[in-house]
């Protein structure tokens, strides 16, 4: 099922699908979050933005393992801009979660650019070493 980005974000924010007075605000915040993702190297190189409810999540092409994280990230970012948490605990938890997702998504991106299997030890290059003088020559 194709899921509208705007509708699903509104649903999580507690706004009814047919209640449109805040659509412009929500769309603006969603696009700001996509812009941050673009700077992190996630999603289409040219960037991504929505204009109305017709844009669906599958339009934002990303690897399968990042999909859910991106949806939650967008929600947290929009929530923190549109309806900021009232208590310090929630503000701190939300900000930390946003930072963690940004780090993880960036980490995915770095892996794509330079895949290194952490389970395979890197081959150590043996430097020419003089055991008498204890120097590398």
């Amino acid at each position: 099922m194709e899921e509208s980005i705007l509708k699903s974000t509104k649903k999580i924010l507690g706004l009814a699908e047919d209640y449109i007075p805040f659509d412009l605000d929500v769309i603006t915040h969603i696009n700001a979050a996509f812009s941050t993702l673009n700077q992190l190297g996630v999603g289409p190189v040219a960037g991504f933005a929505i204009e109305d409810e017709t844009a669906v999540w599958s339009d934002f092409v990303v690897p399968l393992n990042q999909g859910s994280m991106i949806k939650t990230y967008i929600y947290l970012k929009v929530r923190s801009l549109f309806d900021p948490p009232a208590t310090s605990y929630l503000i701190e938890a939300t900000n930390n979660q946003i930072k963690e997702y940004e780090w993880r998504l960036n980490s995915f991106r770095e892996w794509e650019l330079d895949p290194v299997d952490p389970m395979v030890p890197e081959e150590e290059e043996e430097l020419p070493y003089d055991y008498v003088t204890r120097r590398i020559y």
Binding site: P85, T87, A93, Q97, E100
Partner: protein, 137 residues
């Protein structure tokens, strides 16, 4: 340890009182839980894994006491295991200790009320004001 309570079941109750009744443990004041092994408990609560899951539970419950809207927590907040854990559970590293399905956001007072069944520790309900009601207390 038998799992008897869960967040899925808890979320079926809307009111704070119903959720409290569902979670009540009716323990006894002075009954030993961790006893001299409390350092294990403290190590657990300072672990990175716990801090991460704590954060996501606060976000899920919107920083509200027992996750009930209108009971935002401004004072001391803690995350409660809906099924009591003991020394053996921590040593074995049971998965459910880190599972949001068995965790709920609460306050220190509500937490104590859950454990010891002391209703007077629960947050007071503010009476709705009515027309011509000029008596403040």
């Amino acid at each position: 340890m038998t799992i008897i309570r869960s967040y899925s079941e808890l979320s079926r109750y809307d009111s704070f009182e119903d959720r409290f009744s569902y979670l009540t443990l009716n323990g006894a004041v002075g009954r030993s839980t961790f006893g001299f092994d409390r350092y294990i408990n403290q190590k657990f609560y300072k672990s990175h894994e716990w801090r991460q899951i704590r954060q996501s539970v606060i976000i899920r419950d919107n920083g509200c006491d027992l996750g009930v809207f209108g009971y935002e927590i401004g004072g001391s907040l803690l995350i409660h295991h809906v099924n009591p854990m003991d020394y053996e559970d921590v040593i074995r590293g049971e998965d459910w200790l880190f599972d949001p399905e068995y965790l709920i956001t609460t306050t220190q007072n509500t937490h104590n009320a859950i454990h010891y069944g002391i209703d007077k520790l629960l947050p007071k309900v503010v009476a709705a004001r009515i027309r011509n009601d000029t008596k403040l207390w």
